[in-house]
């Protein structure tokens, strides 16, 4: 044909994202490994604030999700999008802007999270300036992607690109809504939602971050790289269509399954359950289309490490997406929630699905980018087996541990008392399992190091193809429906129609669940005795957030006999109305703290923060001696009170002026209590510990019969 156009694919940007992916991947996994060791030997924080579990854990999750997988997504998208559309990326400057902005976001995360600058909202911990930066980056990515789509030479969009479009729009919506926050200072903001609404928005976000950051873009990548690697046609086009639309519509509703038996109204919880169950088939659609695409290629799966990695990835995806719905059934969730079961579940997904697919793609991509063969198939096989064993050694002890935890928490003696009334007993029981889990993490990490070595050596022996020549005919003029073609072909020619319908479908679930919760008062019954936090308690609460206490302690007593026996009355939604943000947590490495107020004397907390093991022998909580030394920071108190008033907390007008004096009075009172109880340290009333004690002693007491020790 005469009108064939010559152009070049940009491989440099693909390589950059690939290198960023495995480099950050190593960092994220190393931090994860350190965290597993800290749960065995808490002194491994080396006594430094920046290395305590509560601050490092968000670093681990953010590094793995946004740095390792995030860069992996961009690597896969930038490679496959150009080829599927027969076009170079829209604009090279945008590509590199996207790349560097994203690395800056990651760097900011790595600097702020250990410093305790955090919103405490899981997977949305980054403070508002970084949120803005993420928004800009995402817009740049969107412009570049849709620009490429517009100037494409290919008439129809392939299924991989459907997933990329849905990913882009949904992540944008999720990120923007979750980042509704009111800044107090450069490093501090309050979520505009409080308590139960904040919890709902959080898990709408958190669940769908898994769905649309860890799942849909990777499904898109699977649809490109798996058929390429196997050299087989995709099993079923119809299956692609049905499972794609069903998946993006249903996924968004399932968030409330993170809040089962919480004080979220039952109707929202039930929606979370039923949509999770309905999600099994759409999720498995992706797994089946992947595995059945390998029909006739299984002989090669045995030899080709790329296919091996991909098969295990897709199988792990199938297992995790079956387990997820099971965990969404209330009676299973009653056992699994807050335990290590959840940790096992997410790691099957993260290590198996995301980790293995990333490396499958990297092993396929690197030899092509460098026009050579993979440096060593043996090393790749070793990586495969270390990784697989790593997943097993990680997941099995964590399932065991989660089950053990739940059973011990719930066990009663025939006389009706808790068999393991001391929470610590249930913690000590898990240590051997934690040791095995560490071993699993180490195996996976070592495998990854070998993998990275293999890729570096591959690059070293080849020559990089920065600009790859390609040619294609221009896209024919757009046309309407052709008689006899699938109805869906029409929308595949119209990317913006696809964007539009995807946006509608992914919005419905969230709107139906969140709007009534935010705008209909009766959804959160008021409790008249619940009052705003005092200035000192507010300072303490922000310390609780800074130290990441929420990573190990929940603040949600569920309506279970064992929990009300262990902690006290179960939590009511009206108790949380002034909680900006909510601090329910998702894991109980330590006990729930919602009824902590008045449980122990002030001096107990003082000693416990200085060294938890003096009060609870064998505890795996790290010591927080700096809270006893640091002077309480109150200069932003007026700003905080003003911000919270704007959000709806009924602090009286001009309260900013009275607040410092009120804070002093309460601090003096706690200092006196401490002195009476034998703690005679000088100047204790100015220290951070006093604020934290004030907050802990307040927790859950608004609806409690007054019998507080600290008063």
């Amino acid at each position: 044909m005469s009108n064939v156009q010559q152009f070049q694919y940009d491989n440099k940007i693909v390589r950059a994202f690939g290198v960023a992916s495995f480099t950050w991947g190593l960092v994220g996994m190393l931090v994860g490994f350190i965290l597993t060791l800290q749960l065995i030997w808490p002194e491994l924080n080396l006594g430094l604030p920046i290395t305590t579990f509560g601050r490092l854990r968000p670093l681990h999750t953010n590094a793995v999700i946004f740095a390792f997988v995030g860069n992996g997504i961009f690597m896969g998208v930038y490679y496959s999008l150009q080829r599927l559309l027969k076009a170079r990326m829209f604009n090279d400057t945008l590509s590199w802007l996207h790349f560097w902005l994203w690395q800056i976001v990651i760097l900011c995360a790595a600097l702020t999270l250990p410093a305790g600058i955090t919103t405490s909202l899981e997977y949305a911990e980054l403070e508002w300036p970084i949120d803005l930066l993420i928004t800009v980056t995402w817009v740049v990515f969107g412009l570049n992607m849709f620009g490429t789509i517009v100037k494409r030479r290919e008439q129809h969009l392939y299924v991989a690109i459907w997933f990329y479009i849905a990913t882009w729009v949904t992540v944008a919506v999720l990120h923007i809504v979750r980042s509704f926050e009111l800044p107090v200072s450069l490093f501090k903001s309050y979520s505009v939602f409080s308590g139960v609404q904040d919890a709902l928005v959080q898990w709408w976000y958190g669940h769908n971050a898994v769905a649309f950051f860890l799942t849909t873009p990777y499904l898109g990548m699977m649809y490109y790289f798996l058929p390429k690697a196997a050299n087989r046609p995709v099993f079923s086009y119809k299956l692609s269509i049905v499972h794609f639309w069903a998946l993006i519509f249903i996924y968004i509703w399932a968030g409330p399954h993170h809040l089962l038996y919480s004080s979220l109204p039952d109707w929202v919880q039930s929606l979370g359950t039923v949509f999770s169950i309905m999600l099994i088939a759409p999720s498995w659609g992706g797994m089946l289309n992947g595995l059945l695409t390998l029909r006739g290629a299984w002989d090669r799966v045995r030899q080709d490490p790329v296919l091996k990695f991909m098969v295990v990835a897709v199988t792990a995806y199938g297992m995790a997406t079956f387990e997820g719905p099971m965990l969404s059934i209330k009676s299973v969730n009653a056992i699994s929630h807050f335990t290590d079961w959840t940790i096992a579940h997410v790691h099957v997904g993260a290590l198996g699905w995301n980790g293995f697919l990333t490396f499958g793609v990297l092993y396929w991509l690197w030899p092509r980018l460098y026009r050579t063969n993979l440096y060593s198939t043996n090393l790749a096989n070793i990586h495969f087996w270390l990784g697989t064993l790593g997943i097993i050694f990680y997941a099995v002890p964590m399932y065991w541990s989660g089950w053990t935890q739940a059973m011990m928490w719930k066990e009663f003696t025939p006389e009706g008392t808790l068999k393991w009334g001391n929470f610590l007993d249930t913690v000590l029981q898990l240590r051997p399992l934690y040791i095995m889990r560490s071993l699993g993490g180490l195996l996976f990490f070592v495998g990854t190091i070998i993998g990275v070595y293999n890729l570096v050596k591959t690059a070293g022996q080849g020559s990089f193809l920065a600009q790859e020549d390609a040619e294609a005919t221009p896209r024919p003029a757009p046309h309407g429906r052709v008689a006899g073609e699938y109805w869906h072909k029409l929308i595949e020619r119209r990317p913006f129609a696809m964007l539009f319908w995807a946006t509608i479908l992914i919005s419905i679930g969230g709107l139906i669940q969140i709007l009534p919760m935010v705008f209909i008062d009766s959804q959160v019954p008021k409790i008249s005795t619940v009052k705003p936090y005092t200035p000192l308690e507010l300072v303490g609460r922000d310390l609780y957030i800074r130290e990441g206490c929420v990573n190990c302690h929940s603040q949600l007593v569920r309506p279970f006999r064992d929990e009300t026996e262990r902690y006290g009355e179960y939590s009511k939604s009206g108790e949380y109305v002034y909680d900006y943000p909510f601090l329910w947590g998702s894991k109980r490495t330590g006990p729930d703290l919602h009824r902590e107020g008045g449980r122990y004397p002030d001096s107990w907390h003082y000693n416990h923060m200085l060294d938890p093991r003096t009060m609870s022998p064998g505890s795996i909580m790290p010591p927080y001696p700096w809270l006893l030394d640091n002077k309480m920071k109150t200069d932003d108190l007026a700003g905080k009170i003003g911000a919270l008033r704007k959000l709806g907390v009924p602090y009286p007008k001009g309260y900013e002026k009275d607040a410092p004096a009120e804070l002093q009075v309460q601090a003096q009172k706690i200092a006196k209590n401490l002195a009476d109880q034998g703690i005679k340290d000088q100047g204790v009333e100015d220290k951070e510990i006093v604020a934290l004690i004030a907050y802990l002693q307040r927790l859950g007491t608004d609806i409690k019969v007054k019998n507080q020790a600290g008063q």
């Binding site: 390429k228 011990m408 719930k410 001391n422 051997p432």
Partner: protein, 313 residues
Amino acid sequence: MLIVPGGALLAQATAATPAAAAQQADSLPQYMTWALIVGGALVFIAAMFYVIKVNQFLYKRIVQMEAAKAGVALPEDAANALGGDSFWTTMRKKYWEDVVPVEREKDIMLHHDYDGIYELDNSMPPWWLNMFYITIIWAVGYMFYYHWGGGGPSSEEEYKNKVERAKKEMAVALAGQANAVDESNVTALTDAGMLGEGELIFKNSCAACHGQGGEGTVGPNLTDDYWIHGGGIKNVFKTIKYGVPEKGMIAWSSQLNPSDMQKVASYILTLHGTNPPNPKAPQGDIWKEEGAAAPQDTTVTDTVKTAEPAPTK
């Protein structure tokens, strides 16, 4: 090396489970749940079996085709070409699997290629589609049962029912048991085994505030002659049971059963006069045993030898 001691402790860890599991499984929804999980797991295994089976079948075909290409004679599968499907084949295609074999996949290959990737027009696996329908029906049923008039219990009702049932079970368990000690009839134990158990409880639950040797840290010294809330087994038992919340002593009745509280209270009394290092200064009043009161050993068992006199207060 790490695994071996781990394994031993694992056994210990799970020793806790059977009793609890039995308690867990006491209601119908639990059975339903497990049925669902097991059922689901079976479906997953079936799905994997399906994938493997299809692939094995097709792999064999490829081998055959390659053999044919190489000129090796192959028996032709004549049945394939003949006639319509049997009843069972029809049913299978409708509800279970309906896949076009690899060698005929050219017939269903869509014309378009994307960077060399082709798509087949296989129908969606019927079992998969049916599973999707079933989950949708299940979802509607669930919403009916719990919200649209089906009478299913709310989380709160579920909780109340469980607590009610537990109360009845506890009453049965406690009835006529030696365990039914309370502050009016408790006696100090002297049996070494019992005191040993008391010591264990003390180390786990009390030492944090009262010191390993009872010397007192946050809480008062338990080894001297002074008691804030009264000495003697009955007072100590009472303090443990109900706590003194305004002073930070928590009520242990929810964590320790009566016989455990008796054991630990008895152990505490044995600490008297042990003079541990770093004792906390005395608090409260001197407690004197008043032998005049009549012993009230109503819960005599062979391990209970002496009865403390009742406090006069």
